[in-house]
Chain length 207, copies 2
């Protein structure tokens, strides 16, 4: 009989996920800002990359953890709460989305500060790429934003155009075989790979 | 570059997840009651089993969909809202948990009516098996229950003893290899498999 525990936790250590943590897709996670106490939990995810959506520099402690686990950091600086509100920058979200849908970066964690607005917008755009109906996309956004959901985020997600992204993408094929084993194949389309490289942000890598 | 769409949806069909849908773990999903309009989305999950937590018979339409997709139904009849409230039955939740942690039943969808209380309690117990700290378990319960969260469900999850379950379990090993490919190995422990079979509920199978 199988027990859903991670391979590096044999039942002894209590795991503390980051605030507002949840799983988005196979190999895609979202959360609020990871604290020191969450590093043990995060190590069970075997992350390859992190998408960080705040403008502030990544804390030294977190950088060290990424370094020791060989995790790439993709930072896309988006302003948090400002007065008057700063509109969510479409181009930046599109760039983040390009990193997010590239399975070579998975397993990947998306986070901002609370995991509600910036992260919620990016995940919402991903769901549109995945062809989810809009009401389900907005329901998911609201579930993770709780009482702090913002009308302007919903409008941003609704208006976000994913057709441009679709045109430069090919597809992941999910294959399910046998006992819960799930496989993805990444199919390349050479021309599009070139397009992607041009838009790739600078990754902090290989310290 | 990889696009996170399912293999049987090439971008044309709009997918409608069931209400309150979310991913719990690799191969474990939760939601409210699936309706006809959700069947297209559910087919992309390649489900092997469903855990259904209500006392009411499964609708004929849903049964037909399970049959044509060769999906096993595990029903554990738990009462919904009653006056006075019926306590969540520990033994039934434990039996459902046994089915849930057995990766041979994955990919699996857990659902009740709203995906809030009965489903939330079962997922909460799973998180305890996974050694999540209690505050994170309760945060997840509340996120999916929204304004309808119940104090007695939180108390149930807190009090639920997973040690009995742990003793008859071995482990899943997650292995992450290369481009987003994620593998699980199921390690068997023969004695425990026997224990599990004795507790296995009647599954609706192979119509």
């Amino acid at each position: 009989m199988g027990l859903l525990i991670e391979d590096d936790n044999d039942g002894g250590e209590v795991l503390i996920p980051p605030a507002n943590f949840s799983m988005v897709e196979d190999g895609v996670y979202r959360s609020g800002f990871p604290q020191l106490e969450n590093f043990g939990f995060l190590s069970t995810l075997n992350l390859k990359s992190i998408i960080y959506l705040c403008a502030e520099p990544y804390p030294e402690e977190n950088l060290r953890s990424l370094q020791s686990n060989n995790i790439k950091l993709f930072q896309f600086g988006i302003q948090g709460k400002t007065d008057p509100p700063t509109p969510m920058p479409k181009d930046t979200v599109l760039s983040a989305l390009r990193v997010l849908v590239d399975v070579r970066n998975h397993p990947i964690l998306i986070h901002c500060k609370q995991g509600k607005h910036r992260t919620g917008c990016l995940v919402g755009c991903l769901r549109k790429v995945q062809n989810w109906c809009l009401s389900s996309v907005l329901e998911e956004y609201q579930k993770c934003a709780g009482l702090k959901w913002r009308q302007r985020d919903l409008a941003f997600i609704e208006e976000f155009d994913v057709h441009g992204l679709r045109q430069c993408l090919y597809s992941i094929i999910y294959q399910y075989n046998g006992y819960g084993l799930k496989r993805r194949k990444l199919l390349y389309q050479e021309e599009n790979l070139v397009v992607q490289e041009q838009h790739k942000p600078q990754a902090t890598k290989g310290w």
